[in-house]
C-alpha cells in the first residue's frame, strides 16, 4: 500500500520534472551569459598573469586554469557552488570548474569513510569518466591522425 503511494508520488514528480519545456530557452540563455562571462574573466586573467609575471601566454593559460580550479574547489567546499549550479547549470558545469566541482564534492562526500577507502577510492568517481574517455578517444584520434595526416 505504502509502496503504491510512493510510486505514484515519485511518478508525478518525474512527470512534473520533464513536462515544462518552455523555459529551456531561458536556461540556455542563462548558461550562455554565465559561460560567456566566465570566458571573459579567463581571458582577463590570462592577460593579467602574462603582464604581471611577464610569462608566455601558454604558461599564463595554465595559471588561469589552476585559478579557476582552486575557486571551484573552494566554493564547493564552502557550499555555495551547488546553489549557483542550480541557477546557472551548464554555465558552470561545462567550464573546468565543473571538473573541479565533481572531484571536490566526491572527496567531501566520502571523507567519513576514511583516507584510503573513502577519499582515495572515490575521489575520481565522477571525474574518472572524463579522464578515461578523454584518454581513449585522444588515443584513437591520434592513431587516426598518424594514419591519415602523416607527420604533425
Amino acid at each position: 500500500m505504502i509502496g503504491d503511494d510512493m510510486e505514484k508520488s515519485t511518478y508525478k514528480d518525474l512527470v512534473k520534472k520533464h513536462t515544462p519545456k518552455e523555459d529551456s530557452l531561458l536556461n540556455g540563455g542563462i548558461a550562455f551569459i554565465v559561460g560567456g562571462i566566465m570566458g571573459v574573466v579567463a581571458q582577463l586573467l590570462i592577460d593579467f598573469y602574462g603582464y604581471y609575471f611577464s610569462i608566455p601566454k601558454s604558461a599564463a593559460g595554465t595559471f588561469m586554469l589552476i585559478t579557476f580550479i582552486f575557486l571551484g574547489c573552494l566554493f564547493t567546499a564552502l557550499g555555495f557552488f551547488d546553489k549557483w549550479v542550480t541557477f546557472a547549470k551548464c554555465g558552470l558545469i561545462i567550464p573546468i570548474t565543473g571538473f573541479a566541482h565533481s572531484i571536490m564534492s566526491a572527496a567531501l562526500e566520502f571523507r567519513k569513510e576514511g583516507f584510503v577507502t573513502g577519499i582515495g577510492a572515490n575521489m575520481l568517481k565522477l571525474a574518472g569518466t572524463v579522464i578515461i574517455y578523454g584518454i581513449v578517444s585522444a588515443y584513437v584520434f591520434g592513431i587516426l591522425r598518424l594514419i591519415l595526416g602523416g607527420a604533425v
Partner: protein, 116 residues
C-alpha cells in the same frame, strides 16, 4: 575584440551543453564526457588550435580544451617518436589541471567540513 570572441565562444559551448541537457535524458556527467570527446576530435586536424587563437581564454576554459590538450601533447610527442609517442606525451599539457584538482581538493577536504 578577443574578449567578445571569448564571451561568444565560451557562452555558445555552455548553451550547447544546456540544450543537450534539457532535451535528452543525459546527465551532466554524460554531457562533459561528450564534450571532452568532441574536443579531442576537433583537434585531430588542428581545428581547435584556431579556436584558441581566435577566442583565447574562452576556448581554454571549457572542458573541450581538456580533450584538446590530451591529443595535442600526444601528437607533439608522436611527431618526434612515432606511434609510441602517443603513450608518452598524452599528459604533457593536461597534467597541471588534473594534478591541481586532485591536490587542492585533497587538502581542502581535510580542512573543511561538507555543508549540506
Amino acid at each position: 575584440m578577443i574578449y567578445l570572441n571569448a564571451f561568444l565562444f565560451c557562452g555558445f559551448i555552455c548553451f550547447l551543453g544546456q540544450m543537450i541537457l534539457d532535451h535528452t535524458r543525459l546527465t551532466p556527467g554524460h554531457v562533459t564526457t561528450i564534450f571532452v570527446v568532441v574536443g579531442a576530435f576537433l583537434d585531430t586536424f588542428s581545428l581547435y588550435d584556431k579556436f584558441i587563437l581566435w577566442a583565447g581564454g574562452g576556448a581554454l576554459l571549457p572542458i573541450t580544451s581538456f580533450g584538446h590538450s590530451l591529443i595535442h601533447g600526444a601528437l607533439m610527442k608522436a611527431s618526434n617518436l612515432g606511434p609510441m609517442g602517443l603513450f608518452m606525451g598524452m599528459f604533457d599539457l593536461t597534467s597541471s589541471g588534473i594534478i591541481a584538482s586532485i591536490v587542492i581538493s585533497f587538502f581542502l577536504s581535510l580542512i573543511l567540513e561538507p555543508k549540506d
